[in-house]
């Protein structure tokens, strides 16, 4: 058994789990944070994306023990004081979701993408950066619009998506 301690959404947490426990299982089952989803469980769909030490990773492809000592941010950690994060607000505004299953991963990927690219974000870059996130409903177009709108509202001046 592993004793795992990490900071999740600014809160110090610790727990005991098997060494083989995946980070996503630890987040969902030990911590009860079920916003992070398990979609494919084969490292392809990106529904489980969280930030570990400031980087977007697939939490179904990392052991909880590997994240011991790390700073983790999940979808629950984005909104502050009842106010949606600009990326969350943009997904609502642009209808960047239908069933919503992929949305936590999409939003965590979008936040990471905007932080890395800042003003360099354009539609082509957003589409390429969404390589690791699969959505079976939307056809991606409204997701791309939401990401670009959020990037521009976050002060990075990204180009507006083609209509």
């Amino acid at each position: 058994m592993a004793n795992v301690s990490m900071t999740v959404n600014g809160r110090s947490v610790s727990g005991q789990c098997e060494d083989r426990t995946l980070l996503v299982q630890f987040i969902r089952e030990n911590l009860g944070l079920t916003g992070t989803h398990v979609g494919c469980d084969t490292s392809q769909c990106g529904a489980c994306v969280v930030h570990v030490d400031g980087k977007a990773v697939k939490s179904c492809t990392m052991l909880a023990a590997q994240a011991d000592g790390s700073e983790v941010v999940t979808i629950e950690g984005l909104a502050s004081g009842g106010e949606l994060h600009p990326v969350q607000a943009a997904f609502r505004e642009h209808h960047g979701l239908q069933c919503g299953f992929c949305t936590p991963g999409m939003i965590m990927s979008a936040v990471d993408m905007i932080e890395r690219h800042g003003g360099q974000l354009d539609e082509k870059t957003v589409r390429a950066e969404l390589e690791g996130n699969i959505c079976r409903c939307t056809g991606y177009h409204n997701i791309v619009k939401a990401v670009l709108d959020a990037a521009s509202k976050m002060g990075d001046g990204a180009k507006v998506a083609a209509e």
């Binding site: 492809t61 590997q66 690791g132």
Partner: protein
């Protein structure tokens, strides 16, 4: 996933000691191949030795014309390195097109080459760049390191600690990604070296993993242009044939990707 025991190594010596204590132990680098394989129960190591916290195995340094990349350096760091982009732009391009952004944040160059997947990108890059693979025991040339599909010259417990490359005068990489997995259905890395020689390495196509194509190397050594490849033939006898592409289709892709790689090298 079957039960396993996790260990976090603090140094190369520590990692090797942990790994040799039990012969069912595996090194865990970024885990982007090993963990999915374990989840499918296709691998069941008794112990995992995590390499992500060994400081000496991380980072990129350029000294004169030599680029040294620590084995635990993630693909994203190679893709975003200004030093790599200026000394060896083809390698930065290659790293930027492995998997997806999340995989690139975790997956490492050492993990990729130690696994030697027949459709992985790095083996082609390192073979064409005539890289040296540095382990805890010795230095191995890329030609000698990659010995076949999922097979390398590494001995039990031997650990890749870094990769060293002499900056080429020109290089480029082009791959035709599988539309679903994004692994190379064929990828070709072309490098022109300081002595005028040219090396061409192909991944995703060979039935025994990465290989060099002598015919294209000779054609490009006398005339480094995409047109020089027109008269070269690619034999499909030793190429993979599967549901994604026949060996004849891959033989054509080898040529098309080689042309694109030469064009990208400029």
């Amino acid at each position: 996933m079957y039960a396993t025991n996790y260990h976090r190594a603090s140094s190369v010596e520590d990692a090797v000691k942990l790994a040799t204590a039990n012969d069912e132990t595996k090194y865990l680098a970024g885990g982007q191949t090993l963990l999915p394989t374990m989840k499918q129960r296709l691998a069941a190591p008794s112990d995992l030795v995590d390499l992500r916290h060994i400081a000496s195995m991380k980072g990129i340094s350029v000294n004169g014309g030599t680029i040294r990349i620590g084995a635990a350096t993630p693909h994203a760091d190679v893709a975003n390195s200004k030093e790599v982009a200026s000394a060896c732009p083809g390698l930065a391009h290659l790293a930027a097109h492995i998997g997806d952004p999340h995989v690139r944040h975790m997956g490492t160059i050492g993990g990729s080459i130690a696994n030697n997947d027949p459709a992985a990108d790095y083996p082609a890059g390192l073979m064409a760049l005539n890289a040296t693979i540095v382990t805890n025991k010795r230095s191995i040339s890329a030609d000698d390191f990659f010995t076949g599909m999922f097979d390398t010259a590494l001995e039990d417990g031997e650990l890749v600690v870094a990769v060293e490359i002499t900056a080429p005068s020109k290089c480029g990489y082009a791959k035709f990604p599988n539309p679903a997995s994004r692994y190379a259905m064929t990828g070709v890395f072309v490098a022109k070296h300081g002595d005028g020689s040219v090396r061409v390495a192909v991944t995703g196509a060979g039935s025994d993993g990465v290989f060099r194509h002598e015919g294209m190397e000779q054609a490009l050594a006398s005339n480094f242009s995409a047109e020089a490849l027109d008269s070269v033939t690619v034999d499909d006898a030793d190429l993979m044939s599967d549901i994604h592409a026949s060996s004849a289709y891959r033989a054509n892709l080898v040529k098309v990707m080689a042309r694109r790689a030469v064009a990208a090298a400029g």
